[in-house]
Amino acid sequence: MSLMQEMNERALELGVPLGVHLDVTYRCNERCVHCYLDHDDRGELTTVEIKDILQQLAEAGTFFLTLSGGEVLMRRDFFEILEHARDLKFNVRIKTNGVMIRKSEARRMRDLGVEQVQVSIYSRRPEIHDAITKLPGALKRSIEAIRLLKSQGLKVAIANVLMTVNMGEHAGVQALAQELGVVYTLDPTITPKIDGDTEFANSGFGAEGGLPQQRFGGKCRRVLRASAKAGRRRHGRLSLQRRTYGGLHHSVWRCFPLCAIPAAEWQCAAAEVY
């Protein structure tokens, strides 16, 4: 058993939420066809509320923190939140589309000791990537962001969500990742909508005969099995997802809200879950 696995087991025994995924906003500059969020701002958590949550998570023992959205950089206070998270010594990963990352943002992420930045790429062909994100020029800007992040010495991963419309694109995205010198990760998960609607996920975005991943080959099936195993684990104990309006969810993959709670009651709710 690796040291990390040992720590995971210990966290499980102690009821410590070792890894937390925090959506800091649902606003986004892209409109991806498969996205599980709506992007209306119905009253996000404030800077103070998010800082309070981070403080409570640190006290609860959370070590791995993923900051996600929406697009995290849509928040003007994102770097204030990130700085606070790093002051609290979280291991921070950021999920972004990269469109708003310029040299200054990349440098700041590096200076703040971000562990990894994950950028979503759907195809290396702009006509496909930009059609999925519904943002003209998105691919070019995302690739430029990856280059900037790499040039600052940051670890970068490309997340490649596969659907019917881009199912044949994974080899190209893998090659792109190799050219850029970044990690490639295949994401076969289509998440149910935030309101619990599973119609889109179950329809597999136009796939015939169920979820798109059911049509994948052997390599993808292995990824799926690993993902499912990890998912069961996350649903069990290890991971919580805190969302921007104050709701608490088991994980990204199980979007049905457990409860909607103000920041001050977060720890009580976490205690109930664990």
């Binding site: 006290e59 070590f63 010594k89």
Partner: protein, 104 residues
């Protein structure tokens, strides 16, 4: 032991879990867990207190360990963590504040 000062790097993540300190470098992603004694040294690494004083005051007094053994082990521990950029080592006090000790 020559005079040596140690400070926690800002390029790390750290958290207490079940009495042990988890530390991970964001530079090379190396991951360590520190036992009780190493955690004490880690928490005392403020950049201003000499390592020898940390060992004498925080280790020997608290854990009733021989000073020579404690010094040797502390040197080894500091060398390993500094090799990964997790601890910063200098022969004079640091100007920078190492920041708050992470939540337990």
């Amino acid at each position: 032991m020559s005079e040596k000062y140690i400070a926690r790097s800002s390029q790390i993540a750290a958290r207490m879990l079940g009495g042990e300190m988890m530390v991970m470098s964001s530079v090379d992603s190396t991951f360590f867990t520190l036992n009780e004694v190493a955690t004490v040294i880690w928490q005392a690494a403020d950049g201003h207190t000499p390592l020898a004083e940390i060992v004498a005051r925080n280790v020997c007094d608290e854990f009733e360990v021989d000073i020579d053994i404690a010094r040797r082990d502390a040197e080894q521990f500091v060398n390993e963590l500094s090799h990964h950029g997790i601890l910063l080592v200098s022969d004079c006090p640091f100007d920078i504040s190492p920041g708050p000790v992470e939540a337990a």
